[in-house]
Amino acid sequence: MKPVKIAATACIALALVIVLFTTGCTQPSSPSASTATPSAKGPVGSVEAAGVGPMPSLLATGQVDGYISWQPVVEAGVESNVGQVAVYSKDLPPAGEWSNHPQNVFVVRKDFYSQNPDFVNDFSALNLAATQYINDHPQESAGIVADWLAGKQNFTYGNVSVSSVTAVNNALPTIEFTNDPSDSWKSSTSDFVQALIGIGTINGFVKNSSDRDAVLYNFQPYQSAAAIIAAKSVTTPAPLQNTVNVGYLMAVDHSALFVAVKDWQYFNDTYGIALKPEDLSKAKPDVADFLVNGQKIATVNLVPANAGPNLMQLAATNSLQMSYVGVPPAISAIDMGTPITIAYPIDNLGSGLVVAKGAPVQDWQSFAAWAKERSDAGKPLVIAAPGKGSIQDVMLRYALQNSGIAITEVKV
């Protein structure tokens, strides 16, 4: 047995898996202390993982009992045969709280918007059109997204090989693609901001403002874009002198951009607005011409990153003028004084709690029961979550608290 263990340990080091181990649980914490119940039956440990990619590996190697993440890592756990979905984020308690929870947003630098309102509005109209297209043509969109993210190749998880098209196809229906800053979206986002204040991850402009909505949002681009789409006609704005840099993440959530670029001909013909790649042969175009009524308005650089905070740092130094980004980095950036504004959502939902295959879990109730049972047995569950203050981390804390289960952060 011993040599096996040594070999396995060596292999983990080889494979660059970041191992977060579970000794010395300290510092109990709860999302907002006011509603913490004394009936807490026992702790669930949460492990902060560096990114969500390795989460199925952590589960497969028994280092965690489950994880909460965004897509396509939720489906990856299922398809690689190591896990099963306990609950998708919309069904996490308290009931109805997260039925429309924010996930990703589109942010614009304020100075850029005031100087180029027409460009931002037209670009936003393209986002709205692409979002609609994803909802109308999910199959075709899945193909485009899988091509952008993985060249339509297979994902290999352990012994299982899954087509990336299948994975994206399964993931898309769990995400709500919408650009509407609805009341329920705003209320959910506001709860999330409150939770971040409770955790202590934001304590600047957003926290101290008496009018948080004014600090966070400017929905004008959305309203103008909706009007353009409704009219199906757009006036050609004056061309921009400078190149525009637009940030995004290599994530299913930002499908609207991928679809807009890859299907540029359709949007050009239907709406008169398009992002036409300069090199049509590229799998992931990095430069595109922004066309309105067939006329080039600006050169747009598409800048991918592997984490939202990177994008927000670039926005702060005006290296990006607009970006697709997750809602937590956007809120933190605004809180720290980055001169950006949230213009509208890009997508909602799309997260899920995955537990080890064969666990006695079908839904949240049975998960809570399992957590209590394991805690009573002296073997508390360990769940991996993306960084503290992520929407997934906050939802898990809320849900556990709501079920009267304490959570401790596993210190590594």
Binding site: A7, A8, A15, P56, F155, T156, P304, A305
Partner: protein, 253 residues
Amino acid sequence: MTRRLGLVLPILLIIGWEVAAIIVNNPFFLPKLETVIPVLISPFSDILGTGSLVQNALVSIERVVLGFALAAAVAIPLGIGMGRFAVLNDFFDTTIELLRPVPPLAWVPLALAWFKIGIVSIVFIIFIGAVFPILLNTVDGVRGVKNTWIEVSTTLGAKERQILTKVVLPGAAPTIWTGLRVGFGISWMCVVAAEILPGPTSGLGYLIMYAYNLGQINVIIAGIIVIGLIGLVIDQGFRAVEKRWFGWRGLER
């Protein structure tokens, strides 16, 4: 013969890996060779939409060479100055020792803010990794030039410029070369750190991090192997030059 002996351990490691993979029987811990080999033996086919192994390797090599060349261009003249003139050494030494321990990864956020998205910030990270070993070895090499050689040339009427080009530089060359060899190794190591930066859509470092985000362990291992192999080949090149041109150093001792 020595080269053949050097192959024994890698071969044993590969066999050990496969045996361990079979015993462990959990591909998440350790994927079997069979899942990695297909990636390696088709170096011209696309991987996860990032381009082929060869394309990614070429992109990384270009970045490393740029950063490394820049580091050499800065470090060698500065090192010669510092080694030859005490006042220059006193002026720069504290600052260099202050900056030297900072890992290249720590510069990533600042590099982004200063040099924006693109090749410049990537080259900067690689430059930071390579510049110090080259600099320190150059200073060392220049100081290590025998005083008697310099004295003899002074006696024979050599000017400072002649001493530098005809005595100091050739005398220090073997040590400077060692610095370049170490520096290149480190710049190659830095390519992963540099390619984490937003913007790149290719490169071996990018490929590894991208595969990490998607949990594709076989691609990660293939990337590691290719980085190692290229590093090995380049190091052999450095050694060959060392043997050919600087063999005299062994005799001198």
